[in-house]
């Protein structure tokens, strides 16, 4: 099933589509107000982009610097080539600790690696402690947004879910009461947690510390109560120096939710006395993307989600329509690197309007990469045959003035003569499901122009003002 078909399913509920669009547009507008309030915001984007480009150009060096610094802090550093290694390393740490109860704060990487089902299969209880993540974990759904994982759900949906899983009153939809029920439930899980898993927003090569940004404080509570902290990061999370961090923290929350900064920006540098800290550094396709010059800039992403909030397609099709851990425009340029066939429709799930590129806090040329992925997919024969042969035919027509002129005449005549029901049959004409075709004029412009008297003499032409 491709993106368009999944989007059509989402669109069936028109009111919910409106609600989803307006909810995310509200976040986009909040982002705008936060951005307008910082006069140097565009300079910050440029700076962040430069730091990321620089880091990616020397990634091996910074990763080794980070590893050495972290080890000097008493942190165990693990390297995972792919999702399977990542999951196995984590299970091994958990087993060595003899633990069975895990608390996990938000981490798109562990989603990407499908860590939860892996751990559960091996008899480990893993509880997502981020409220949105916990909601979708109860529902056995993947996140539909990287920052707002349950944004596809209304408070009534959450009420139903909590009624089933937490015993709240049937029909309860008051956000305050629902959140309180989740707090009480999670408190017990936090206290019982033996190992805490977190993601990483930034890893500082200079100090070997990892920085985790949350609004709920759940990462801090989990890590500080458990005996073992495992932080999971992709290789692209590195920044060179502690002094670079401020550039990103100023951009991240403003771009994501319009907040000046996340409620918690927690630095984890070394384990507390008697405790352990592990960092798992994961590749899982990232070096392959680094090796694609047209697409390597996608690794600059700091996972703010701004491109999703602004994307007019995402807002109307929902995150699940992308069927990839990271949805939206950034997901559409990351996913073909992982599985070109499976995700071949995603780079086409865009009008190339360019808004994603313009909100991106690290200036990833997202819409240009979407265009370039389309070419890669076209060359690899991963586009529908009808499109491929249609375009080949069109190429022939449009490269020849004569064929084009005759074809145009024929098409316009056909449109005028054929009955409306036929030219606008939804089964044959996707355009006409919701739109009228343009009225076909008798004369094209070129036919009209050919009948005009030639200008007697070329009149004087204006000069370009200096």
């Amino acid at each position: 099933m491709n993106h368009a078909l999944r989007a059509d399913k989402f669109l069936l509920d028109a009111d919910r589509t409106t609600w989803h669009d307006e909810t995310l547009w509200f976040v986009r507008e909040k982002r705008d107000r936060a951005v307008y309030a910082v006069p140097e915001f565009q300079d910050l984007r440029e700076l962040a982009s430069g730091i990321k480009n620089h880091t990616l150009s020397r990634l091996d060096m910074y990763l080794r610097e980070f590893e050495a610094a972290a080890q000097a802090n008493g942190v165990h550093v693990h390297w995972a080539a792919d999702a399977a290694e990542h999951n196995a390393i984590i299970l091994d740490i958990i087993r060595k600790e003899g633990a069975t109860r895990i608390v996990k704060s938000k981490s798109m990487l562990t989603e990407e690696c499908h860590l939860n089902p892996y751990l559960i299969k091996h008899g480990i209880e893993v509880v997502d402690t981020d409220l949105g993540e916990r909601i979708i974990q109860f529902r056995d759904e993947p996140p539909s947004h990287i920052v707002l994982p349950a944004i596809h759900l209304k408070k009534e949906d959450v009420g139903d879910t909590f009624h089933t899983h937490l015993g709240t009153d049937k029909g309860e939809s008051d956000p305050q009461r629902l959140t309180e029920a989740a707090r009480q439930h999670l408190r017990g899980k936090f206290i019982a947690g033996q190992v805490a898993i977190s993601g990483v927003n930034f890893a500082i090569a200079e100090t070997g510390a990892v920085v985790v940004c949350t609004n709920e404080g759940n990462a801090d509570l989990g890590v500080n109560l458990a005996a073992v902290h495992i932080a999971c990061m992709g290789i692209e999370k590195i920044i060179p120096r502690l002094s670079d961090l401020g550039v990103f923290t100023r951009l991240l929350a403003r771009s994501a939710t319009g907040q000046p900064v996340t409620t918690y920006t927690s630095h984890f540098t070394k384990p507390a006395a008697g405790k352990q800290m592990h960092i798992v550094i994961v590749d899982n396709g990232r070096t392959q993307q680094l090796g694609r010059p047209d697409f390597r800039a996608s690794l600059k992403c700091i996972r703010c989600g701004a491109c999703m909030n602004t994307c007019p397609v995402y807002r109307r099709s929902g995150g699940h329509s992308y069927d990839f851990t990271v949805p939206g425009p950034i997901g559409a340029i990351l996913s073909p690197n992982i599985d070109m066939k499976k995700h071949s429709s995603l780079p086409f799930a865009s009008t190339l309007c360019g808004s994603c590129t313009d909100v991106c806090p690290v200036k990833i040329d997202i819409h240009t990469q979407l265009y370039k992925w389309r070419q890669v997919l076209g060359e690899a024969n991963e586009i529908p045959a009808s499109k491929k042969w249609g375009m080949k035919f069109m190429g022939r027509v449009l490269a020849s003035t004569r064929v084009y002129g005759l074809g145009g005449q024929f098409a316009r005549k056909a449109l005028r003569l054929l009955p409306h029901g036929l030219t606008h049959a939804p089964s044959m004409n996707a355009w006409a499901v919701a739109r009228e075709l343009p009225e076909a004029p008798k004369q094209s412009f070129r036919e009209w122009y050919a009948q005009q008297p030639a200008p007697a003499a070329q009149p004087a032409q204006p000069q370009i003002p200096a």
Partner: protein, 258 residues
């Protein structure tokens, strides 16, 4: 302001009219208005008859290779002109940005630099910022993404709250005109080339939402400088029989300037 000023200038510039394929076939009135408007501004544009298309529909579908003969045909058609002016920012953006796939001969580089959207040409080459004439209607301006974000013809809400741009300035200079204040000033209309059929559901919904913003805020005449977006929006307006007239900006401007 008088246009004799332009007509009195001497050294000639050779200006070609590029009329994108779908405008040629379906919207000749927009092309005629473009030609006549340029004439009134003192520019005798020539329409080289061998022109076809910029190749964007193919390239946006992932078939850039099949578009290369079209690109070459385009460059051969227009390389002798100082300016290539089109009433469609999207095609111009494609020529400027994506003709990088061709060998960058002097001709290719020249044509890429010479391609101008009509409104951009009027504003930055002819340096016309206001026009004499009246258009006493409530006009909703659709900002096309490729003109706005691609060719920087208007401010972007991603960057600044100030709503300003080349076409809104020209329109605002007309007597009696009122521009619609939209809830979302620059959201994409959902046309997107072949996107409009390959993602027909989302495309239509985006267009319906754009049109609804205009209806809500009182647009009588819906305009823009890119006919492709307008074709899509007009298709929706006509399907639901709304009392909104869709016109290319060249038609408005040509109609009011004598």
């Amino acid at each position: 302001m008088t246009f004799y000023y332009f007509k009195l200038q001497t050294p000639r510039m050779k200006v070609a009219l590029f009329i994108p394929c779908y405008i040629d076939q379906f919207y000749p009135q927009a092309a005629i208005a473009t030609l006549q408007l340029l004439e009134k501004l003192g520019v005798q544009a020539h329409f080289p008859a061998q022109q076809t298309c910029c190749g964007q529909p193919l390239a946006n579908s992932g078939c850039e290779r099949d578009a290369l003969p079209i690109y070459k045909h385009f460059v051969e058609t227009f390389s002798d002109y100082d300016y290539v002016v089109a009433p469609s920012g999207s095609c111009v953006y494609h020529v400027r940005k994506h003709f990088d796939k061709l060998d960058q001969t002097a001709d290719v580089q020249h044509v890429r630099g010479a391609a101008y959207d009509l409104i951009d040409f009027i504003s930055t080459v002819l340096k016309v910022e206001s026009l004499p004439g009246a258009f006493p209607h409530k006009v909703g301006l659709h900002l096309s993404c490729h003109g706005q974000r691609g060719l920087h013809q208007a401010n972007e809400s991603e960057m600044t709250p100030v709503r300003d741009g080349q076409l809104s300035r020209l329109l605002r200079s007309l007597e009696g005109i009122e521009l619609t204040n939209l809830n979302r000033n620059d959201e994409c209309c959902g046309f997107g080339g072949t996107f409009c059929v390959s993602e027909a559901g989302i495309s239509a919904r985006m267009g319906q939402d754009r049109v609804a913003d205009h209806v809500l805020n009182g647009t009588e005449v819906l305009t823009g400088s890119d006919m492709s977006c307008l074709m899509h929006l007009e298709g929706i307006v006509r399907r639901v029989k709304l009392p909104i007239r869709v016109m290319h900006a060249a038609e408005i401007l040509n109609g009011v300037v004598s």
